[in-house]
Symmetry: C2
Subunit: 232 residues, 2 copies
């Protein structure tokens, strides 16, 4: 059964990026509907009352008698995609590795968003987008310190694993790449200090699914010098 | 294949409660390991580096050649349980209703925890547990105001639905009941204002899976007068 897909997203929302990568990896084309998430439209709020992104809408193509699907936010979209488009699998087949991949996806939602994004991304990107004035230096510094802990943790995992959750590429890699690519655009990742993480990022950045993200532009904020370089 | 189950949890952690309800509904007995989440042990941090609860460990019984499973936090546990113990199903079979159930589970993690628990539960329960002094009245008031918005939203859903996500009981109901039952213990829910929500809560509170939660006791804080009453 074939569907036409629309993705409501914001180019520099890490959770939106995770889903764009997954859709790309599964070779599912989609129409992009750009949403300024800090001022969600009625359409967006009707689709997702939380106002959070991304939102995937799948409309049956002519001849497909299925329903229109509406799926909100990255974790639900990951599960939905995996249940409906099995190839390539993006949850590992081994139960423990699958649980590990889901744990790491949750890590970004319940720890990274709180400890890093609520400070660093809020001060450096969000306030500018929202016209809320200059960044608070102390908050930015606290976010940068927290980021170091997270990067060290990812480095420790990737020292002994091929991919973030273990042997195979999974949604955990896309969740992590969605986050780090936004911070990399803002030149907040000192890759030289995290060699295994840097190798992993070079590999994932070279995948075709990553290409659209490299062309994203934040109004008024140029990308870091190496943002688009595959070999950095 | 049969497993012995252990659940690392804290009795008044809403996410732990959601999983206890789901395990009970699936009639899966488990050994309880009580964790004071604000001072996680090395054992807990080895199982889940985020320190967040609950954590499910499944050990194969003699004769079962399967692996030991380690699954961290409620959303991963819900997906794991559904993939391994299918009866009764707790994700709806219809794709849209399933997406709706997952959206609502996410609502508690990405909105309710931020807007209500980080204020109200933190001030009223967490500070006491952690010995961090008296609650801040202004924060508590802000959490209570946010709670009203959430309760109105759940009420609006349950005015037109049997269960939170639609036609069938799902993890969304357990995620919501896990949250509201903690606030009800603390007498923070004015049920009379939300008649559909109250009816739903009476129904879910009457299920056998709910019984263990009614016996939980918070040190130094007695339960609200109606906490244990099925007809309140």
């Amino acid at each position: 059964m074939t569907y036409t897909r629309q993705l409501y997203h914001f180019a520099f929302d890490p959770h939106s990026r995770a889903v764009r990568l997954a859709l790309g990896e599964k070779k599912l084309p989609f129409e992009e509907i750009h949403v300024r998430y800090w001022e969600p439209s009625d359409t967006v709020l009707r689709l997702n009352p939380s106002g959070l992104l991304p939102i995937l809408v799948e409309t049956p193509e002519p001849g497909n008698t299925g329903q229109t699907h509406k799926v909100c936010e990255d974790r639900s979209i990951m599960e939905h995609l995996e249940e409906t488009v099995r190839d390539p699998a993006l949850w590992p087949s081994n139960l423990n590795e699958r649980a590990e991949a889901r744990r790491l996806v949750g890590w970004f939602e319940r720890k990274f968003d709180y400890e890093v994004n609520a400070l660093l991304l809020h001060e450096k990107m969000e306030k500018r987008l929202m016209g809320r004035g200059a960044p608070d230096i102390a908050s930015m510094r606290a976010g940068r310190e927290a980021l170091k802990d997270h990067l060290r943790y990812f480095e420790s995992l990737l020292q002994v694993r091929n991919w973030l959750a273990g042997h195979s590429l999974s949604y955990a890699d896309f969740a992590c790449a969605g986050q780090l690519s936004v911070l990399d655009y803002l030149d907040e990742v000192n890759w030289a200090r995290y060699p295994a993480l840097k190798t992993w990022y070079m590999v994932i950045k070279s995948r075709p699914c990553f290409r659209p993200l490299l062309n994203d532009k934040m109004p008024g904020v140029p990308a870091s010098a190496h943002y688009k370089e595959l070999d950095f």
